[in-house]
Symmetry: C2
Subunit: 356 residues, 2 copies
């Protein structure tokens, strides 16, 4: 399986197969902490221009791989391309974040939402993947991704970032039927979008549920996990007929990790508030675990980074099925040198835990 | 004990003694969702003017008790009065939040910090308590409070609200000794502050650890819980020689609730992401539990509020030691009528769980 990928540690770890060293990639590894990214961002004029220009998205995807010995590339894009393609008019406002021109507020708004055709309405993403794949030359796997329906829906309803999430949570408790209709159409959109990414060539996919942690446990199961599970069930095999591994990452949902492990995904992404050793004992070998160093460790000197990496590796222990990552995206202020320390420490310090 | 308090449900529940109905109070029950509060706020010109004028702080403390059948009053104040008294120059900027003129950034800044004398530097708080107590006429207990050292320190170092918490977490991983020095002096300040509140007449105290959830589990124990425990150990008895119950509330720390339950407090406050029934099974009768309805439920119609209240009561079950509360502060947009529905539902629907 995927034997053509030269460094297949990530894919092997996601399938709980033996590896020689723990694979590592980092959420937002292609992004603002890299000066070469900031230069391109400035030239392009906007974040969305980068996302929507396949050559630039390809270049940014590859930037961190030139600097660091990473075990995967992740497509440079954004989770809000899907609602943008559904007609909401995405804008990314500097220092404020995403904003939709026409947020979704009523049942009529929801009933009007189309399921975008990825090869037409999100063609720039598919073209980016088709540009990246030959450029990567199968050195490492390419990870595709999408937002979870719940997380995408929070932005669609609130119209942008929110402090109280009063609108979406008001809908959740006050008009759950409408919210279910919204989540259903977003789930359909995400499913066809991820399947198109698989057809275009990605080797694994991650679903980002950034706002799952806003929910009580019953609400999380009903309004977030259920729809991620539906997407996982709808994913197709790759061109070779092989199953494409799926990672579910719900931030702030450590208490739900057992339940997430039963959703049918290959791996569960953990934020840094979870004890990864305890979680391994709880979920056993059912799924791989991804994570979970505190992103703020990268503000510390090299010896502290190495010590904290060692702590995560020791907590996970000598099992198959660990993909090293931060517990959340790398922060913009981090020195790229610290990222090099992290990546090298994972490979070096993890070898004793592997037998091959 | 506290027999002079007419409605002592809260104090009995905090001591895991039988009650006739589950007591209920709500974080931020005195605040922005009440039109009579907003009127006073406008007249006073600033939030801090309200805090620093004992008669106004008293009036605001009493406002929700005139409307709702609450089982406790909570002092109207702010967790940042302590660092303000340490000389940092607190300002509350409209729609932005708190801001310190002179944040703490270096070891020298930390070494200069005094432990304020509450009767001198925070006299307005003590005077507020001494104004509220006779006005309350022992109808219900008065809850005093302070921020946790970790939470106060995040504001002192960041200088205000933050998205990444890069400065305080950089200190945590890069210069933990300085952070421990800061937390030690803040702990001393909070201990004498809470003891002064007890001397002035409060009947219970809560420590608010709003930002405990930013931390990994080992970091939470080392940098937040340890210092809250130190404060709990330093609290004095009330004027009758009775122990004053303490509630520890760490937001986003459901995974740590077992550990928090061992810190010596009488009660653990839970946010709405915790399954309160599972937590009761885990901690047993060691401590009371406070919480934990999703604050967003108050956006819903009355019948949904009643259903969700019933769910929390049922999850906790027929045990002593439940104080009903929201899982976080009531949100400013909530209709006060929904608060009435909540309070009445708790009293009515909890009676079958109590025998007296």
């Amino acid at each position: 399986m995927n034997s053509k990928i030269k460094n297949d540690r990530l894919l092997r770890a996601l399938r709980r197969q033996p590896v020689d060293a723990t694979p590592v990639w980092v959420m937002r590894q292609a992004g603002r902490y890299l000066p070469e990214y900031r230069k391109l961002r400035k030239q392009a004029g906007s974040f969305l221009a980068l996302c929507k220009t396949p050559d630039l998205a390809c270049e940014i995807t590859l930037q961190p791989l030139r600097r660091f010995d990473l075990d995967a590339a992740i497509l440079f894009s954004d989770i809000l391309t899907v609602p943008d393609a559904m007609g909401l008019g995405l804008q990314i406002i500097e220092k404020q974040g995403p904003h939709f021109e026409t947020p979704v507020r009523t049942r009529a708004d929801i009933d009007r939402l189309p399921v975008p055709d990825p090869e037409k309405d999100l063609r720039y993403v598919m073209d980016a993947i088709r540009t990246i794949k030959p450029a990567l030359a199968d050195a490492v796997p390419l990870i595709g991704f999408a937002g979870s329906p719940w997380t995408i829906a929070t932005y669609m309803v609130e119209g942008g970032p929110s402090k109280e999430y009063a609108l979406i949570k008001g809908m959740l408790y006050g008009d759950p039927e409408s919210l279910h209709s919204l989540l259903a159409v977003v789930s359909d959109a995400v499913t066809v979008y991820l399947n198109a990414q698989i057809s275009a060539g990605v080797n694994a996919v991650q679903i980002f549920d950034t706002w799952g942690g806003l929910l009580s446990q019953p609400a999380y199961c009903e309004f977030s996990l259920q729809y991620m599970q539906r997407i996982v069930e709808g994913l197709q095999a790759d061109a070779n007929g092989d199953k494409v591994p799926v990672i579910l990452y719900s931030k702030g949902c450590g208490q739900m990790a057992d339940r997430i492990a039963d959703a049918g995904a290959d791996a569960v992404g953990l934020d840094w508030t979870v004890d990864i050793g305890e979680m391994r004992r709880r979920v056993g070998a059912r799924v791989a675990l991804q994570g979970n160093l505190d992103p703020a460790v990268l503000y510390a000197p090299a010896e502290v980074i190495r010590r904290e990496v060692a702590g995560v590796l020791e907590a996970f222990g000598p099992h198959n099925g660990h993909v090293f990552n931060l517990g959340h995206g790398i922060q913009p202020e981090v020195d790229p040198e610290s990222m090099a320390v992290l990546v090298d420490a994972v490979h070096e310090l993890s070898r004793p835990y592997h037998c091959s």
